[in-house]
Symmetry: C2
Subunit: 255 residues, 2 copies
């Protein structure tokens, strides 16, 4: 996502915050994802950002409206752009597949947006909780990855989907295994590029485009674990600036 | 663990707190696990407990001394009891296997305790990050579970281990698949019973044993997600009292 944003908007400055101390969000309930997302947004506000992209699908699916109601700056999620990209990719009547975490799929956010933009559209949604952990573990190919892909995607394949929305930031790293299983007839839709375009449109409309930003600004994370920098670079595709650790109050935490 | 404690100490009252909003701890760095564990302990102190059991292996492995230095009540971890159980189980010179999360294995806590109690003892340690997610997903048997078990345990099997310490609270649910792969010659060691005995010994020594407790007292959790009650009952083996959700301050969180 950061990569797509930087490519689309090379004259902006990007501040990234990854809540690595509390991920994954995909197995948490909607109230907790909302609270965490609001805390994370308030941290970005302190960095004086002009727009927030909720780059996590689980947070976009459950907390986007909650954030938009509470913050006075534009907040862009990944669901609507992903749905538009999927509708662009499928021109016949074949159903659209949606995969994501349990939080994302159970929220029904993708399903609602598909039906809103194309009433009567057919879709098949499936939560794939293990995918994120296969990616974190680097197991994106080989027998285990293939078996897990088959386990989760069998029903979507049988339903004859024409496109598959990768509704989780981790899933693009599994794309080769997913494509190998579904076959080349199924278009794989990643919302990153589509979201970056939505951000450009929002900034243009508000006349907030920058022409002298520095590209990648600061990278913050709430935890810096052993594999974090390595995983981040696999996602980003090149070296990242040093990650700054964000701290929180330890005392008087639980009410 | 709660089950083993209740069986060993039926006249005590147990207050359980599961930090379900922030689990899993196994992929987090030691500083974050320490901070989270201290916050959770301070919550239990507010419930006026007389002793704390750190029932999470990742927290025991990285934060036990940190907690003991900061709290004035006894704090018991699962590492030392697990090691004693393993040394009891292996009477020959075959190496002891240790499996756990990345946080647990990287901490070296099991390895140090084994060497301290039996200098020169041979062991083989292996982090198995996917195991906890297989259990959460209910995939504890079948082809995927078998492949993942083989993937992680191949080296331990080849090393000819005589016992295997299940160094994570989730792993006992995978025990059938693990035993099937390793064969009946390998003793499987779960630290729950051994830890419960250590708690009894500590309470006896301090003359703090209760004779009129109520068994299971309150169950607290920081998140109540869709599958939580079901998973908790699979661990506990019987119906649990209603779970009370613990809240935290949302504003002014990140420093």
């Amino acid at each position: 996502m950061l990569r797509a944003l930087k490519d689309e908007l090379s004259d902006e400055t990007f501040i990234y915050f990854g809540d690595t101390a509390r991920v994954p969000y995909g197995a948490k309930s909607a109230p907790v994802v909302k609270q965490f997302s609001l805390q994370n947004s308030l941290f970005l506000l302190k960095q004086e950002v002009k727009l927030i992209v909720v780059a996590c699908n689980s947070a976009s699916a459950t907390a986007l409206t909650f954030l938009q109601e509470r913050l006075s700056l534009p907040v862009i999620g990944v669901i609507a752009p992903g749905v538009r990209a999927a509708l662009d990719a499928v021109k016949d009547e074949s159903p659209i597949g949606i995969i994501g975490t349990r939080a994302t799929i159970n929220s029904g956010a993708y399903q609602r947006e598909l039906s809103r933009l194309k009433p009567g559209v057919k879709f098949e949604a499936k939560a794939c909780p293990l995918f994120v952990h296969l990616v974190e573990e680097g197991l994106v190919e080989g027998e285990i990855a293939q078996k897990v892909v088959e386990y989760y995607l069998k029903d979507l394949k049988n339903a004859g989907i024409g496109a598959l929305i990768l509704g989780c930031t981790h899933y693009p790293l599994l794309q080769p295994a997913i494509s190998a299983y579904l076959g080349s007839g199924v278009r794989i839709v990643d919302s990153a590029v589509s979201t970056a375009r939505a951000v450009r449109a929002e900034l243009e409309q508000r006349q907030m485009l920058n022409s002298k930003g520095q590209g990648l600004g600061k990278i913050f994370a709430s935890d810096i674990s052993a594999g974090f920098a390595q995983l981040a670079e696999r996602f980003f595709g090149e070296k990242l600036p040093p990650v700054e650790k964000v701290e929180f109050e330890v005392a008087d935490f639980w009410v």
